[in-house]
Structures are given as C-alpha cells and as structure tokens.
C-alpha cells in the first residue's frame, strides 16, 4: 500500500548535538486528515522541515506518495503544499505576484496560475487586496495568503504548521470549513496546532510527539476512548437554592455530583454511565437545566497526561487496529 507519507526511523541531530528526532516512525494514509501534536520543541516543525526538505535529516527514510526524498526529491516535493508556522513571503511583493511566481516554481503556466490565484484569493477573501504588498495585510490575512500560496500547484498533500495561530475564532472557524472542504476533495491534510479543540474537530488520526519520539499514534476516536472519566458542567436556572442542589447531590449514590454554586453543578461520568441517567435524576428532582458543556477539552486532558508520561513503547496505528480486532 502506498501512503501519502511514510516515515521510518527518522533522525535529526542539529549541529551542537541536540537530537530533535530520535528515530520516529509514522504513516499517513491518502486522504487522511491527520494531526501531529506535541509541546513546543517536541520535533513537529523539524519533522515537517525534513519532509519538505528545509531541514537535512541525519538518518532514516521519508517517502511522499511512494517517492523517497533521497532519490526522488523533486517528484516528492511536487505532491506537497506547505503552510509554514512563520510568515515567509516577501513583504514587499503584491499578493498576485507572490501566488503566480509560486505556481511558476512548480511549472504552472502564468495563465493557469493567474486563474488559480483569482480562485483562491476569492475563496479566502483576499481578492480586494490582490495588488497590495503583503506587508499591508493583517495577521489573519497573511495566514490565508500562505494557504492560498500552498494550493497554487494543487498539491495532493497539504501540511499546515499551526495555521490558525493568532487568528480570531470567527476566522479560525471559516478556515476549518475551508480545510474540511479541501479534505473532502481528496487532499491529504497534516496539521500541527496548539489548539487541541481544532485537532479534535478536524482530524481523524493523530500522532503525539514529545522529546523527538512518537508517544501516541492512533485514531482520534480510539484516543478519546482512552478517557476514563469525563466531567460535564450543568448550568441551572437562577433561583435554584444552594441547599436544594446540595441535598440533590448528597442523595445520589450512583453518580458523582459536585455543587459549585447555586446555579452550577459538575458531574463526573465514567465509561459505564451516561447522560440519560443524569437527566433522569435531575428531572426527578424537578431541577431546571439551562445548558450543559464539557468541563475541559477532552483531547487536552489526554494530551497533558501523555506528554507527562515517559515515552512509552511506540504503538503504531496498524498495531492498534490489530489489537482492536482481537
């Protein structure tokens, strides 16, 4: 089977001896929406740097759609669109020139590049700025410009290194919609982000890297299933008395309630419990619930627990699938 990305025993030791990657193995299937998470300095950007040939590896192998970057680098590069973490376009060039030139580096003719530039600038709401120098754009616009630039040669794999850093929530959500649409069209997407909600909402598979090693490599669903306890917050109608809530919480022997204040209740649910049981008990007590939400991002809780552990024995997605099948 040919993967969109196949990394084996990848190592990178920088001058000075810092070992950023300690022999990582990773595969990303074609058409996947894949999250690569890790704390700062974990090796995410180094991995992306090696894949895109901006960083020279010191060991291991990288294949992009079956093409080895050691032997077929130019072919491998042609499949990749990169949205780097830092702005890396000429601040003085107009947007249109940046996009058309970038397409030219991939052998796209000027007429086709101009058509594509118009298409992506319009989709990313930058068309009005097409003749302005890039330095005139806001931070969010610059991020969108980098996405448009990465798409100019219509790559089969898009790598985004923290694409929504510093972007407001409204814009972030519109970028999520845009990325989902690209993924639906068959483009493999690899995403690094510090917004774990983003990874949880968008990605089907996930790898967590820490200290240059992969500490988790599985599907998002399986990772989230590892959560033993999930905490929900219920907002009650104002006017519910504190004593009423205290008495309700004390009566339940099956579910663990905590009263935060006279209109807030926290509930811990383990895997054998469900929200129906909670609502049955609340209804029986005639308490009116206005809203409910997760106390914290579920992935965040797992992420923190995983990176606080010593790197464990690597479990690949294939192994996870095999274990699930047993």
């Amino acid at each position: 089977m040919t993967y969109a990305l196949e990394i084996s025993a990848l190592e990178k030791t920088y001058k000075g001896g810092f070992q950023a990657l300690k022999g990582i193995d990773l595969t990303v299937s074609k058409g996947d929406f894949f999250a690569l998470l890790g704390p700062n300095g974990a090796g995410k950007s180094t991995s992306i740097g090696v894949i895109t040939s901006l960083v020279n590896k010191t060991g291991g192998q990288v294949k992009v759609f079956g093409y080895d970057i050691d032997t077929d680098l130019e072919k491998a590069k042609s499949f990749i669109g990169l949205v780097p973490q830092e702005f890396n376009f000429s601040q003085f060039e107009p947007l249109m020139n940046i996009l058309v030139n970038q397409a030219g580096y991939y052998g796209v003719s000027k007429s086709l590049a101009t058509e594509r530039a118009e298409k992506y600038l319009k989709q990313l709401e930058l068309w009005d700025k097409r003749d302005e120098p890039a330095r005139a754009l806001s931070g969010g616009m610059k991020r969108r410009l980098m996405i448009a630039r990465a798409l100019m040669h219509e790559p089969q794999m898009l790598i985004l290194d923290e694409p929504t850093a510093g972007v407001d929530i409204e814009l972030r959500r519109s970028m999520w919609d845009f990325l989902r649409e690209l993924n639906k069209q068959g483009i493999t997407i690899i995403l690094t982000t510090h917004y774990l909600e983003e990874a949880e909402m968008l990605c089907r598979n996930i790898a967590i890297i820490d200290g240059g090693e992969i500490v988790e490599d599985t599907s998002m669903k399986k990772l989230l299933a590892q959560l033993d306890v999930e905490t929900f917050i219920f907002d009650m109608k104002v006017g519910t008395s504190l004593s009423e809530l205290d008495s309700f919480a004390a009566q339940s022997s099956t579910i663990n309630y905590r009263v935060v204040d006279d209109h807030t209740l926290e509930v811990d649910l383990n895997k054998s419990q469900n929200l129906n049981q909670v609502f049955e008990q609340i209804n029986a007590a005639n308490i009116e619930v206005l809203s409910m939400r997760n106390k914290s991002n579920r992935l965040e809780a797992l992420f923190v627990s995983l990176i606080n552990k010593k790197p464990k024995t690597k479990q690949t997605k294939q192994q996870a699938v095999a274990e699930d099948a047993k």
């Binding site: 020279n56 060039e93 058309v100 970038q102 030219g104």
Partner: protein, 254 residues
Amino acid sequence: MNNSIALKSILTKEIQRFMRIWVQTLVPPAITISLYFVIFGSLIGSRIGEMGGFDYMSFIVPGLIMMSVITNSYSNVASSFFSAKWQRNVEEMLVAPVPNWVIVAGYVGGGMCRGILVGLIVTLVSLLFVDIQLHNIWVIIATVTLTSATFALGGLINAIFAGSFDDISIIPTFILTPLTYLGGVFYSISLLPDFWQGVSQANPIVYMVNAFRYGFLGISDVSLVTAFAVIIFFIVTLFTIAMTLISKGIGLRS
C-alpha cells in the same frame, strides 16, 4: 516539471524587484557616473592629456561602464538573495521542485539584467560628455555578458554565506571596490612599474576592463584570448562553488 517556467518565474521576480525600486537601483549609477565624467573627464582629464592614444575622457568611458556593470550585477544578487534568506521567502523555492541550477541561473540572470541595464544607462549618460566609438560590438557584448555573470555569481555566493546585512557590504567595500579602482579603469597598467604590472595581472578586473575597452577603442593591456580565458575560468569556478553550496544547503537548510 517544466524548468523553463520556474526559471522564468525567478527571473521575472528578480526583474520586478529591481524595477520596483528603480530610484535605488537604476538612478544612482547614472548620477555617480555623471560626477566621474565631470570630475575625471572634464576637470582633471583635460590636464592629463592622452592615454593609450585617446583623450582621457574616451579612455575611461569603457572602464566606468564596466565598473557600473560589476557593482550592480554583484549587489543585485547579494542583496536580493540575502533578503530572500532574511525574509525566509527563499523557502518558497526550496520546498518546490526547482532544480538547484535553475535557482542559480534565475538569480544570476536577474543580476545580469540589472548590470547590463545599468551599463546601458551609463553608456547613454556618457554620450552627453563624449562621442563613443565602437571597434568590435561582439567583444563588447561578450565581455559585458560574461563579466556580469561572473559578478552575479560572486554576489550569490556572498549572500549564501552572509548572516547579516553587514556581511553583504563587506566584500564590495573591502575587496570589490579596491580591485575595480586598481583594475585599469582610470589608467593603463602599462604606466605602472614592472612589479606592479605583474601584481595587476592577478586582478581579474584588469582583464574584464581591458577586453571591454578593446571592444570600444581597439586597445588593450592584455591579450583578448587571455582575458576571455580568465573570465570563463572564474565563471566555471564560481558556478561550481554556488551549486555545491546550494546543494549542501549551506546557509539555507539546517
């Protein structure tokens, strides 16, 4: 992959860059050269008399044109490539399937275009001060083309190694300018004592200026064959060095 489109893209970007800032790139050489003509040509030149059988103003014109070509070819690539490194937009090319020779050719081509364009501007300005004669147009074209390529390659290597904007002014200030002034622009090296004539022959700019002067006036302190051999030697050497540096990712890839 169509390399000609990639090459054209880099070349277009480079030409757009120096044309966008024409006040900084094209105007200063015209002003500088006018001052040279006024001071060395009209004011001092009239007291010097003839050199190599020509009046002093006519003698220095080819050297002054060549000086502008050298300076501009070099500084265009040095500043543009270093700026691309500094702003990190060089990564646009590094992540794309652009062969290294296309990157080198694109930047060198951009430097050559600016050098030759400035050379043309300076030639037009010089027409205001002196009647230019042409002895062999092909020698002029070949010399200016090869010389601009040589110094554009030099500027590229400088930019690859440079870690700051200071680093791209050190070589022009401490090496290029002295070599140019001692390269026979303002005098015939035959006027020098034997020892200094020998030393001058180690200066590659002597060969470029003299070949160029031959194209205009038909006189040269060095043989034309030697001059072209020296220029081609430098092009081959510098191109090999530039390709090796880019292939290894020196100053570009960590």
